[in-house]
């Protein structure tokens, strides 16, 4: 396991400039307010469609499905600009990042035609149907069951912590299609595409501790899923899901969630009285330094993906360090600029409060850090 630093291709510079300029215009016109963690909490279908129209979603998809077979590195550049700007990209995020790529990898031609183009256009939104009330880190223990019926399947069960299900059109559900009698505990699982407007689907909001809404509970009560909406092979759900998880874990959203906060703090220090404060300068230097290195690590993972290498261990390692860094930013800024009663009056105060309250989630989502450390240890031959 050796990650090599990667240089971005020349094309990426122009692409970056275009995205950055567009986002600056959007902020200037009041279309959105930059926010930390906006890729999870900032639902804005208008923004999603605008990005799709500009060809910045699904760039790596084949042209016939709305992309231009661009490399992971070009996608990386667009992604990090969106995150740096704190843009509201939550509506399309998981669809673009992992659902459409999964369908491109495992799906039928009919499924690709029906689903992928809509994602590249920023018009079709998806939610991840993996976690359940009794299945978080232990994903193989999912109990949502699908039973074979004429023409398809009947699905019953409850999915939990389903971000964005309240605006999503489809749910990629990991379900049990055959009992787990023989073989490993993750055998007998399958992936089904559930239409969230179908009969028997109930989406209930779960408010986060700061009162905002992105989590949901999705109850599936005998929901009919036609055979055409089985993804890949029945019984191969775990294998398909695992490759999807690698995509989920490997991006710069695992290090940059609090970058808008850091940026806002630096701007405030520039114009304020703290720019000569030795302690504040050391804190800034340390945070900026770790950001430089983590970004290079995330870029290196993207480069490895582009080269077709398996990045399961490297992505886990970067996600662990990156998400801890995201929390460090919130904590470091908080120590110098306390979350005051005026937090709803200043942009910095508001961002800081959001970051502090979202921080516990950083190291839990996308695979808790403790579980990922086990993945790294296994990759090193220790486990």
């Amino acid at each position: 396991m050796r990650l090599r630093a990667v240089s971005l291709p020349l094309e990426a510079t122009a692409l970056r400039a275009q995205v950055r300029a567009f986002l600056a215009e959007e902020v200037a016109s009041g279309a959105f307010v930059p926010s930390p963690d906006s890729w999870l909490s900032g639902v804005d279908p208008v923004m999603s469609r605008k990005l799709g129209q500009r060809g910045w979603l699904g760039m790596s998809y084949p042209a016939e499905y709305g992309g231009r077979s661009a490399s992971h590195l070009e996608r990386f550049v667009v992604t990090e600009e969106l995150l740096a700007a704190g843009a509201p990209v939550a509506a399309h995020w998981v669809a673009e990042r992992q659902m459409a790529p999964s369908i491109l990898r495992w799906g039928t031609v009919e499924q690709k035609r029906r689903y992928v183009l809509g994602v590249a256009r920023g018009e079709q939104f998806w939610a991840i149907g993996m976690s359940e009330p009794d299945s978080g880190s232990d994903l193989a223990s999912v109990r949502t069951r699908a039973s074979r019926v004429p023409g398809g399947w009947r699905v019953s069960g409850t999915k939990m912590w389903t971000s964005g299900a309240h605006v999503a059109h489809h749910l990629m559900a990991l379900v049990r299609t055959s009992p787990r009698e023989h073989g490993p505990r993750h055998s007998g699982l399958s992936q089904l595409i559930v239409d969230l407007s179908a009969d028997g689907v109930a989406v209930r909001p779960i408010l986060s501790l700061d009162g905002t809404h992105h989590f949901n509970e999705v109850v599936l009560d005998d929901v009919f899923v036609p055979h055409e909406d089985v993804l890949g092979t029945i019984g191969e759900g775990w294998r398909q899901c695992t490759s999807e998880l690698a995509l989920e874990r490997s991006g710069p959203e695992r290090i940059l969630s609090t970058l808008p906060l850091l940026t806002a703090w630096v701007e405030a220090v520039r114009v304020g009285s703290m720019s000569g404060d030795e302690h504040a300068r050391q804190v800034l230097g340390g945070l900026a330094a770790r950001l430089v290195v983590l970004r290079q690590m995330s870029l290196a993972v993207a480069g490895a993906l582009a080269a077709g290498r398996d990045v399961e261990v490297e992505a886990a390692l970067v996600k662990d360090m990156g998400t801890r860094f995201e929390g460090e930013v919130a904590d470091a800024v908080r120590r110098l600029v306390p979350v005051g009663d005026d937090r709803d009056e200043t942009a910095l105060g508001s961002m800081l409060a959001t970051a502090v309250m979202h921080a516990p989630g950083f190291t839990l989502r996308g695979g808790t850090n403790e579980v990922l450390r086990g993945v790294v240890a296994r990759g090193l031959g220790v486990r």
Binding site: V266, E267, L284, G285, L291, D320, R373, L380, G381, V382
Partner: protein, 352 residues
């Protein structure tokens, strides 16, 4: 694109360097300097990679030369490999002075050494060059000194100066040279050259540290699989597995940081300075944590004189402070980021 070719030759250089160190390194001998390995490196052409072919060198680039440094770090090599390969030849090339034979060291002595033009040509030096790596074993020392009109690069023979012996935390020779009224050859330099020298010096310590950190990871992996307690290898315990995972993260960080800084300097990228500065500051955190976890995993045997671990952790502790401490670099980084007329944070980080 030439990148794949460079990668291949870099890998080849790494393999040759590894063979030289593995064959020649006398792990038992601890103090002093490793003349035998140095001679083997010279024979293999690994100490003059960046020197043009016309000057008798390898005609290679910084990335290729850097590979020798990284490998040297992974063997805790006892020689001024950074000074001899990345600093001295670079500075001399900028002054148009031919490379002297033998062992070279180098240092940035602008704060303590002044150079004035001598009446009959050449330069006259005043002051003391502090903590010059392996100076007592060097045939020539190349220094960055402060001239009346800016930086000056000069060459001195350490045996013709008064030398005071000192050592780093890792026991590497690090000597003061009294240069009162010492005559030297050399030439005037641009401020940009001096800035690049500073970056290369930092890069050198990053590469040494990255190599040593990989070795520390290797030793730790062996330790947790071989050491048994409570009836099993300690690597079977989850808490140990998590420490190993954290260690791997920090080792990867310092290696990717060094790698990124190297490529950025090689390409003269807009973000070169910030990448080196960031990597150098962060290396302090990574190398500190690397040494701490490794010692925690090795238990009592690891803190003794007889175990190999300390040869590497002592170097991590010394190298993280050399070529500028994290505090110094962090302050310089803050300067750049807080400059009211400078680009915003993200623009600086992405070099655009």
């Amino acid at each position: 694109m030439s990148a794949p070719a460079v990668m291949d030759s870099t890998a080849a250089i790494g393999e040759v360097a590894t063979t030289v160190f593995a064959d020649e390194l006398d792990a038992g001998a601890d103090a002093g300097w490793d003349a035998a390995t140095w001679a083997a490196l010279v024979s293999a052409g690994l100490t003059t990679i960046e020197v043009p072919v016309s000057g008798g060198g390898g005609g290679g680039n910084l990335v290729e030369a850097a590979e020798v440094v990284r490998v040297a770090g992974s063997f805790a090599a006892r020689m001024p490999v950074v000074e001899a390969t990345l600093l001295a030849p670079y500075l001399l090339a900028q002054t148009g002075t031919p490379l002297p034979p033998g062992v070279l060291s180098a240092a940035d002595a602008r704060r303590t050494v002044r150079a004035s033009r001598a009446a009959r040509g050449g330069w006259l030096l005043q002051g003391t060059a502090r903590r010059v790596s392996y100076a007592r074993f060097a045939d020539s020392v190349v220094l960055l000194a402060e001239g009346a009109d800016g930086p000056v690069g000069v060459v001195v023979d350490p045996s013709a100066t008064r030398l005071a012996r000192h050592g780093t935390l890792a026991g590497e020779p690090s000597d003061d040279l009294d240069l009162t009224d010492v005559a030297a050859r050399g030439g005037a330099l641009t401020p940009e050259t001096a800035d690049t020298f500073v970056l290369r010096a930092a890069l050198g310590r990053l590469l040494l540290g990255a190599g040593a950190a990989e070795r520390v990871l290797e030793l730790s992996l062996r330790q947790v699989s071989e050491r048994e307690q409570f009836g099993r290898a300690i690597g079977r315990f989850q808490v140990v597995q998590h420490l190993v995972a954290e260690l791997a993260g920090e080792v990867t960080a310092v290696n990717v940081g060094a790698d990124a800084a190297l490529v950025a300097v090689q390409r003269c990228a807009p973000a070169a300075w910030i990448t080196v500065a960031g990597a150098k500051v962060d290396a302090d955190r990574s190398l500190t944590r690397t040494a701490a976890i490794a010692h925690q995993l090795h238990g009592a045997i690891g803190v003794t004189d007889e175990h190999a671990l300390r040869r590497f952790t002592l170097r991590l502790w010394a190298w993280r402070d050399e070529a500028g401490t994290a505090a110094t670099w962090a302050d310089a980084l803050a300067d750049r980021l807080l400059n009211p007329t400078g680009p915003p944070l993200w623009a600086q980080l992405t070099g655009s």
